[in-house]
Symmetry: C2
Subunit: 291 residues, 2 copies
């Protein structure tokens, strides 16, 4: 199974759908949102959402608006994270960051707009999904991306800045900051496709572990990759004396930690009686990715 090809396929399906988003009158706010939202990205979260939905029998084409919402949440978090008040990053996805082009104030609003529009997009499938099920998925969106999820993780990240962290603290930050949105993507795809509660929970757990492995390889890439493949400056973690899996465990130790996380992820979904070949192959992808 060529997992890279499958992910590229999902990415293309998604890119075609979002080409004219966000839907609003033209102007600076729209330009700022579109600048970041339509920038070349891996589209990993919506792709995983679509793959999870297909795994549980849904026609992923119907669920594209919800996928678009997930990527809006991800994009808003990047825009706010890059602000001078937060990580103060100048490059993202190979281009200057949103605030570098549109100013800090408009970047704050572009993020706010994307987060709110994300809910608008997710709610917009209300005619094709059972309302109570959609409400469950929306509840999951809020809890995983908010103060019990991603935003909480970002606050821990800010507070930990400049301090040496233990492995346990680092894992906690990433469990919320990166893991929550990835697990939401997979669990909500399953839920909207009609999966049972324990299947949704298994996908959620899988997503958390996948997120951990993904974050570890992110740290490895920051230490070993290049600007050309990553679209952002490399070595930035080292420069800012940030604790990462690489500083704590070394390259090889970090890689083995990522492998362990993916093994646990696979075990968690082993009881689901669906064709899970795609999710089994994701482990290979996440360990070996070079961007």
């Amino acid at each position: 199974m060529d997992i890279q090809k499958i992910l590229r396929g999902k990415q293309e399906q998604f890119e075609t759908y979002i080409a004219d988003l966000p839907r609003m009158e033209s102007g600076t706010l729209r330009d700022a949102m579109a600048y970041s939202y339509l920038a070349q990205g891996k589209r990993l979260r919506p792709s995983l959402f679509l793959l999870a939905a297909e795994t549980f029998g849904a026609d992923s084409q119907d669920l594209l608006p919800f996928a678009a919402g997930i990527e809006m949440i991800h994009t808003y978090s990047l825009i706010h994270d890059d602000l001078p008040a937060m990580d103060n990053d100048d490059y993202r996805r190979g281009k200057p960051t949103c605030h570098k082009i549109f100013g800090d104030g408009m970047a704050v609003l572009a993020g706010d707009g994307l987060l709110t529009e994300a809910f608008q997009m997710m709610i917009s499938i209300r005619d094709i999904v059972e309302p109570a099920r959609l409400l469950g998925a929306l509840e999951m969106a809020a809890s995983h991306s908010g103060i019990q999820g991603m935003v909480y993780g970002q606050s821990l990240d800010i507070e930990g800045e400049g301090k040496p962290l233990t492995l346990e603290e680092l894992k906690t930050i990433h469990y919320y900051k990166t893991g929550a949105l990835l697990s939401f993507s997979m669990a909500s795809g399953a839920l909207l496709a009609g999966a049972k509660e324990d299947e949704v929970k298994a996908m959620d757990f899988y997503g958390r572990k996948f997120g951990l492995a993904f974050q570890i390889t992110d740290d490895i890439l920051d230490a070993t990759g290049s600007f050309e493949t990553l679209g952002k400056p490399i070595g930035s973690d080292q420069k800012s004396h940030k604790t990462t899996y690489v500083t704590l465990l070394g390259i090889e130790g970090a890689r083995s930690e990522a492998r362990k996380a993916m093994k646990e992820a696979k075990v968690s979904i082993s009881k689901i009686s669906r064709d899970l070949a795609v999710f089994h192959s994701l482990g290979k992808y996440v360990i070996e990715r070079d961007r």
Copy 2:
């Protein structure tokens, strides 16, 4: 009818409910959110929401979580609006602004957290409201507070900064920036209580006009009020050479414009066959308020 007393009653009902919000583990993020969310405020939007819901026959006690969500959206918009990247305000509700106490980065996250938690709170009444109706109210939340509403208005406001505006331009900015959230508060209260589509629309229109009148008196208060009653520095509009209803129309001209808006608001709800005494009295309140 003593409308001030009625509003105080709703405010107290609301304050009692939100005392232990937001629900999350303690830490800096929670502190920053609670600092702004629990600061003494008029609680106008949740109060109007509760009054609208009661007008159409709902038990407002049941809908308090939704009201809490509305005020979270309002509070997040104030926190982000006060940031140095936006209006750069030092005082709000009689206290230093959120970023002055917790830093710019944490203030960005406190706003993001409140916006996301707002949806969580609104969704949490899903067991007591018909799911399709709740989805309608959530759709209204996203459209009125996002890029077709409040956030759009804030982007116009930023772009208009430092430029002289026409009365038409000023009205457009406030239609979105202030009017959208006020109209959402009243229309969603009606919708969740079971009001018919045309009644919801009438309440929405009422809210837009009420919002206009409210913004006009805000400008009047900025020119004539005091720090003690407003909890923020006065004369700030004049200092920043901002176009306001007062600079365009003078105090008396602005007051007459506010009266005209409230007259139109009243007409819009005249066909609703419910006891609307509260909403008829609101006109007097908004014109004569001193804080």
